[in-house]
Structures are given as structure tokens and as C-alpha cells.
Symmetry: C5
Subunit: 254 residues, 5 copies
């Protein structure tokens, strides 16, 4: 970061810079977007033919981007009022995220699809776990690999600044407790992505499971961990159900 | 919870896992949704015939889901500005919640019914009361059984993280005080359901009574309990009146 | 309050229940609703005849409910942007509150009148003042009796939980200071009603006076009382002017 | 303030009442309203003739109220997104504030002018400065006298309750520091008005200057004063540019 | 700052005034506006010819203001839901900011372009860095000079009042740590502008880089600095992509 001024670099700065270099892996990191859509009820009042054309067009765009690293559709109608469905897109370039958005915007349904929430994030190696894996050429945490479970639970996450004032050892100790508790719920799988500076949250966490009650019980138990006291914000929370996009559109009366 | 990494389980973890297994009862838990609707005033400007058809359709959908574990209608017009009525639905599957929502969406009234609030939750055994009942085959707290009183008072509820940092004994002591006070209002009945991770609150509490003033007095007295100091959020608060759906639609000029 | 479980009542609980019984007076308590309306500007674009009919209908509904315990109209146009006028209704039954709302909804103006704010509350004896009056058959504080002054100032009110953790003696001492200060403004009259559990606030306070500056000065001085430190929320604040409904509708160009 | 009860006045109360009487000056205090308008873009799509008529009507209403104690127009388009212009009106009666609002509402442009923000306040003698002037017949601080500078900066202001718990001497000491710092920016002029109980803020502060950067530098330096630590809220902040109303309407494409 | 009163200036005040004079440089400071636009989907339903004319008109206005000190366009569609694109305008006069806004408002697209966010600020010399440069005739920090990187990350920024209560030495020490860390990310360039009193934030920070992940990593590491604990608000955060305006309009289906 260079401000509009010149400051000589000390040796200490150079060593920090080196540490920073090490943290920048050669393996590319993925960009992730969770986009929540609400269909304007005016759409339902349009002629059937126009709506049929619009749905086909949207499905084609979806299929095109299924060729990318990841594209999944989830329904939220009947579960959360401010959105009808969510598209989970992963890419190695911002162009792909913007490209899909542009194509949807320009499609027949475009003017009737509201993005009511969206979270932008990236994959990143955790500073708390798996240090021994750092030397490896390929780190699986830099690649989103869904388990394709029935349910996906998503929320944006911000920690208090008091958390960041703790030593890394203290934080690691608390994260270990958090992870140990998580392991007692083997049916729940976690994807953590990072949003620092990119969007209004610090993390986007996405949990996959086939059992709603397991996830509820896990979150309740996590409240008692020490790390939980450093949560500043963890809402809104989204209960998403894996469903093919054409079924979702059918269910919405689109 | 498994992150994209491998961590060996210690003995301690296995014993925690066992405890977790015990907490997962064989008896199925119910899913609950409180959905608050506001009718778009544009509906009233449509032709009478179309409106009559729309009302019949909505009543048929409601009757269909009355076959499920629970379906009740409550009015809020004249009591709360941001909603007209509420449907309280209980089910053993998310499909039923989504199914009813889908049918309403696709009905004639669908484009004119706004979901202005909604709370998703599940039944669960309390960790504070009735431990002696845990051995039983059937736990009545996992099944919502309304008392069918005239009034239902609902609010979402979030506790401070300081609450969860207390020992379970401390929390139980405070909950006992809370429960004892509640017992002095025998005309008020409480249903507590759990939303951890599923929605923006931790609990949805729903009180039934025939006497509005009894509930008001109870809530005022509960403010003085020690547990009350650990409330982070308990709004919005909804005063709901049990009323058949066809009467509600009539009153709204639908 | 009975949860879905059975707990034996101790002697202590029974004595608390007796105390609670004493607090439930035979004299009925009143229900109160302050409803703030904003007229959709689209109304002004309708034909004059339809608008004339709509105004007459609204005035008739208002007159009908003037037969009840209390019904007053106040204007806010030119003073507060999010509402045009307010109706203050008092009743002994929720049916009357819902009935008036239903009639307005079904009237010609109904689809154009937005309820932008509303507060639901009840009368109740204060736990801080007038204990000596408790033995009396009739308590004037359970009946709203406006002084019919030119101005009405309303705000919803929530106290911090720290307030409720104080002893009743401590709180009474602070309320006495509060009341003494209030008495130095004899031109200002206060109506306090209670919303615990019924709506998003704990109290709705409504001050009547003929002198705007007296009320402003009183509120400024009240900031310095000890009780004031326990205020969590006291907004939005509404400056209302007593005005017949037909004059208000005229002024709005309805 | 008289609640619905009777409390005997002690001698102490009577002496407080006398102090209060002294604080009520014979000289009338002014009512002030800052109203921020956003023009609905639909207006621009209306026929030119209708728009011309609407603009003339609005200008006539403005001129009529320019006869009162104060009426000024300021533009905010291009500076703040949620409003296009602001009218600063001062009056000795609420009727004049409501009258102008009513006339605008009933005019051709009325249905297209949204009041997106508004602040209601009154003039009042400061309890911190100028005590020696209290004996005078006429107090200039009770009369708004703009300096007619190019820029006006406005924000609503709420102090923490901790401020009011300080002794008047402590607060005066801090206000003196605040005032001394202000005097080092002689190009900036301050109007403070009071909103306690009348609106959602405690004060509305309005600064006039010809130099934007002077005001920015002043506010930055004021952050370091001790009084600044007792600020609870000082947003939204409005940068307003003095401009004749007809020029503003022209610039908006009205 | 002169209130409506007269206070004699002490010697101390005069010396502070002199200090203030020194802080007012002869070199003019720039005004900056970041305006975020959302295109109303209704635009897409208009005839192609009208839309073509509207796009040409908007591009002409943009080109006209490119003659000024700075004018850049960035896209946000597909990255942030509440805006489609952002215009970054720098000027030496408020007239230019208002002029461009007025021209857009009056253009064919005007009624369909919503300003969903906007930040107003000015350039200013930092009180923490580069004191040695103050004697120079020209200070580069008073002139925005973009590096024209692919990405621009923007957020409004407010510090806690506790920050301003620290001594300038303490704050400088923390800012030095902040700056040293920033220097370890040489691919990231920072523009800081000031909004005290002009808008709802204290600063607008804008970071340029070609590497999204570098910026994310920098922001994560900055969380651990001591200065970070004094952040009151740093949202919303905007990820912007440099893109010519005509390409943006094309992508939006305008």
C-alpha cells in the first residue's frame, strides 16, 4: 500500500514483506458469489409465452456457467421472505461473475429479478489450521468442493476488533475448541470464504448437511465456545435447499 | 462439522460426540414457520369476480395444509401496521413449508400477498427443564400442541453471548426463577421453538392466552428476573388474534 | 405461564401468585392505539367525485367510533415527514380497534391510506405512584381522560434492563425526582400507557399542552434526572396538533 | 406535568418552579423547520405545460412565505443522493409551518415532491453562554438571523445521557473549550436550535460559511475536544448550497 | 465559528487561530464525489431508439466532465447488488459536481438512474505523515492522481471518539504501524479523502490494485494493528472494476 508520499523501508518492513510474499501462494484462489434473487410478482402477470421464453433463457445462462468451476441453485421460498432462490457461483475471474450478471440483466426475466442479497468472497488458507500442508503444491482449501447435500446454511460473519487484538496463539487455542466441537457433528460440512475489504462482512460461512436439526444443534452448542464471544455479527442467516433451477422456477409460478 | 482438512479425533472428542448422539432423539422434531402477510392494496382495485376466485383458492390451499400437523390463522390488522394476518404452520418436512408457499405464490392472490415477516424454527428439548422426562419414548415438547386461546403473542428472541459464557448451573438457576414467575400466570401458555443457524433469531417464543392484560403484566414482571438482563433482542413483537382465514379476508376487503 | 411440562408449585410460588392476583384489578383496563397515516399522493390524482365520496366515508367511520371511549384526530403534515395525521383510539375490546381498521381498509380511501407507524398499549396502574389509591373501587389512571389541549407529543419508550435490576425503592426514588420536576411544568399533562409484550416498546407516553416551548423545556430538564440515564430508546417523537379530521383531509388536498 | 394523580407540592418543588418560570422568557421563541425534498422522477415525464404550471405554483407559495420571519432555499442535488433541495422556514406559529406544507401538498407538484428528511426545532437561550445578557429585553439568540453565506451545513445532534449526568460547571467548561476552538474559524457561523421532545434529535445545528474547507477543518478539530466524546449521533450530515428556488427547479429538470 | 453572541478573544485563542491559518494552504484542495448508480429495470422496457439516444446523451455528459481534474467510471454489477456502476469525479468547485448531476437528471436516462450511494469529500494534508513536505509550494496529496489499476476498493470510514482523545503522538505511533504494514503490499495504492461535516463519514478511502487477493490479504492483516481497534464503521465496502462507461451501459442492457 503506497500513499501519495514516499517513506523509506526499514529492514523490519522488508522482513514483513517477505512474510507477506510467502502468504501469497502460486496456486490461484477462487472468487465466490452467493446471489439471492426475489422474483418481482409482476412477472407472473405477463403473458405465458413471454414467461416461457424468459425461463428458457435463464436456464441457458445457468447451464453456460455450469461449465465453470462451480454453479449451484438453491431455493429459499417458503423459508425466508426476502428471497426466492440463490445461485452459488465460483470462478477464477471477476469477469465470469460480472458476465453472468450481465447476461441475466439483459435477458427477458432480467428486469423482474431483484438481487436482494449478495455476498462476494474468495478462498484462502486459514491461518489457524493445517500449517503442515502449506508446503504442498496444491491446497484443497483454495478450491470449493461442495458435498452436494440437501441443505446449505449461509451467513455473513464479522468478528469484534477485540478478537484481532488477541495473540495468534490465543486465537488458535479458541479455534481448536471450535473445530473440536464441530467434529462431533460429522454430518455437517463447512466452507469458509473470505471477504475482508471486498464486501460488508469478513467471512461468508456455508454449511452443508442432510439434517436440519444437526445444524441447529451444532450452532446452539457453538454459542458456548470461547470464540463465540468475539462474534460481532452473524446475520442474516439463510436456510437454502438444493433444487434444480427449472424446478425452482416452476414452484415460483415463473 | 468437517472443514476441508483432516484432523485426528482425540478420545475427548469421541466422548463429546457420544454426548451429542444422546442429544439426537429418535423422535422426530417438528419444523415451524410463522409467516406474516400484508395484502397489497392494489388487490382491492381488481374486479370482484377475480378477487372472489382468489379468496376461494387461498382458502383451499389453507384447508389442504390443515391436514398436516398444524395450521392456524391469526389476524393482525388494526394491531400492527406491517402485516394483516399470520399463518402458523407446523410440519415434519421442509417440503410442506415450501409446498404451501409455492401454491400461494402461484395462486391468483399470490402476486398481491407480501410476506413482510417470517420466522423459521424447530421444536427441541430444553436443556434447562424436564431432564427426568428424557428417558421417555415420547417427549411432548417436540410436538406443538396449541391451547387454541384467543390471543397469540410472538417475538423472535436473541440472548447476549455473555449468557452462553455462564455455567449451565447458573443459567438453570436463572431459568428456574423465570419459570416460577411464569407459573404465577396460569392463564398464559408458552411455546418455545429454536432457530439457531436457521434464521436471524435464536428462539421464536409464542404465548397463548385469553387475557391480553395477563400477558402484559407477565412480561413486565419478567423484566425484573436475572435472566432478562441477558436479552439482546426481543422485537418485533406481534399481537395476534385467532380468526378463521375467511373472516380475515372479509375484514381486509379482499 | 405454563410450558409443555409440569412443575410442582412451592409455597413461595403460591405467595407470588397471590401478589399477582392482587395486581389484577376488577376494574377493566383500556386498550389504546395511536395510528399514524400517510395518504398516498396517488389519491390526489383521482377524480374529484371519488375523492369526495372517500372523504365522506372516512368521516362517517370516524364518527361511528367517536361513540366509543375515545377517538381523537391530530395532524402532523408540515411537522413530520413520515405521516400526515394520527388517530388516537381507546376501547375496552380489541374488536373495536380491529373493526375500525377493517372499515377503513374496505372504504374507498382504504387502498391509499398507509399506516406508517402505530403503537398498541393498555392502561395500567403505576407501580411507583398512588399506592394509597389501590383500595378504591375506581382508579382514574385506568381510564384515559384527555385534557383536549392544542398539542400532543407522543413517543414510544424502552428502558434499559439495568433499570429493572434496581430495587423498587431505588426506582421509586428516581421516579419521584422525575415527577417533582414534571410538576414544575403545570401546563403539561401526561398519559402513560403500557405495551410490554404487545408491541415493540414498553410504554407509549403522550403529553398534552397548549405551549410547545413548555414541553421542549421540560424534556430538556428531564435529561438531567437520574432516571433518564436508564432510557434505552425514546424515538420516534411525534409533534401532533389537535385538528378535526375533515379539516385535516382538506389541508392534505384529499 | 401533571399525571392522572394528585401529589402535594413541597417547598423545594415551588422553588424549582420559580426557576422554571424565569427560564420562560416573555420574548417569543421561533419555530424552525428544515425540510428536504426529493422530486419524483415521474414528474419529468409529465407534459411540459403541466410542469410549467406546477413550478410557477411552487414559486408562488415560496414567495408567499418569504413574507414570514425566514424562508430560504438550498440545493443538494449532486451532493447528497437522498434529497434534491431544502427549504429553511422560520415562523412564530406552527400554523405557518403546516400552512406551507398544506399548500405544497395541494399544488400540482405536490404529489411528486417527497419529504425525505425534515427537522423541527425551536430557538432557545443557551444554558452555557451569555448569562449576562439574560436581563435584557431582547435576546438575539431567540431570532434566527442568517448570514446568507454560500454554504449551509446541517446535522441533527444527540448527546449521550452521560453528558447530562455531569455538573453544569463541567459541561460549561467543556463548552467553553468548544467555543474557543470555534472562534479560530471566524468564517464559520453557527445557528443552534432545540428539538427536545419535538423531534428525533435534541438539537439541529446549522453552520454557514463561504469556504467548504474551513468547515471541514473545524469539524475535524472539534473531534479532539472533550465535549465531542459525549456525542451520541450527529448524522445525517447535509451540505447545502444557497440557490434561488427557480434555479434549483431548472437544474432538476422540473 | 461565531455564534449569535460576542466573546472576547484571549491571547491563547489568537495563537490557536494562527495555527489554524497555517493549516489553510494557499494550494487549492479538491472536491471529490463517488456516486453509485442503479439503473431502474423499467429502462430496459423502453423502445430501443429512446434508449440509444439516452445512452449517447449520458456518454456525452461523461466526456464533457472528463475535461475536469478527474472523471472515471467503474462497474459493480455482478459484485454488489445495490448499484450497477460508479462515477468518480474530482473538481475544484462544487458547481462542477452539481452541474454534472443536473445534466444527468435532465437527460433522457435521468429519471431511470437512481443514486443509491454517494460520498462527498475533499483532499487534505494528513496530520500524521509527511510533515517535512509542508513547506513545499505544491503538495501532491492535495491532488488526486489515480494509478489507473483494474480494481478500486472504496469504503466510508468513521473512527471512534476514543481515538480523538488520544495524544497526537499516540495516534501517530499507531498510524506508523498501519503505514509500515501497508508498505508490505506494494501493489496496493491508497487515496484518502476527508468528509468531516460534509457527509455521514469522516473519511472516504479508495484503494487501487490489479490484484483482488492482495487487497483482501492487506485488509485482513490491518485488522491486527492497534489503530484498527478505533474503527467505528467501515461499511459499506465496494469492489469496483475499471471499465469504460459505454461498455458498462452495454453490459447492463441499457
Amino acid at each position: 500500500m503506497t500513499e501519495q508520499t514516499t517513506i523509506a523501508q526499514s529492514d523490519q518492513q522488508k522482513s514483513e514483506q517477505s512474510a507477506s510474499d510467502i502468504a501469497k501462494p502460486k496456486q490461484p484462489r477462487q472468487l465466490v458469489r452467493f446471489t439471492f434473487y426475489k422474483l418481482d410478482p409482476q412477472w407472473q402477470l405477463l403473458p405465458a409465452e413471454q414467461r416461457q421464453q424468459g425461463k428458457q433463457e435463464l436456464l441457458s445462462i445457468f447451464e453456460e456457467y455450469e461449465q465453470g468451476p462451480l454453479m449451484r441453485s438453491y431455493s429459499l421460498y417458503g423459508l425466508r421472505s426476502d428471497c426466492d432462490f440463490m445461485l452459488w457461483q465460483v470462478s477464477y475471474s471477476i469477469d465470469a461473475l460480472q458476465g453472468m450478471s450481465s447476461k441475466i440483466r439483459r435477458s427477458v426475466m432480467g428486469p423482474y429479478l431483484r438481487e436482494t442479497h449478495a455476498f462476494l468472497s474468495m478462498t484462502k488458507r486459514s491461518i489457524y489450521i493445517g500449517k503442515n500442508a502449506r508446503g504442498a503444491q496444491h491446497d484443497p482449501r483454495l478450491v470449493i468442493t461442495p458435498k452436494d447435500k440437501k441443505y446449505l446454511f449461509i451467513y455473513p460473519f464479522v468478528k469484534t476488533r477485540a478478537w484481532y487484538a488477541l495473540s495468534i496463539q490465543e486465537r488458535k487455542r479458541m479455534m481448536d475448541e471450535h473445530i473440536r466441537l464441530g467434529l462431533t457433528f460429522p454430518s455437517v460440512f463447512l466452507n469458509t470464504t473470505y471477504s475482508y475489504g471486498l464486501d460488508d462482512q469478513e467471512f461468508v460461512v456455508a454449511f452443508e448437511t442432510d439434517e436440519v436439526s444437526d445444524f441447529l444443534d451444532l450452532v446452539q452448542q457453538l454459542r458456548e465456545t470461547e470464540a463465540s464471544r468475539y462474534t460481532l455479527r452473524d446475520t442474516p442467516m439463510f436456510t437454502c435447499v438444493a433444487q434444480p433451477l427449472h424446478e425452482i422456477l416452476e414452484a415460483l409460478g415463473a
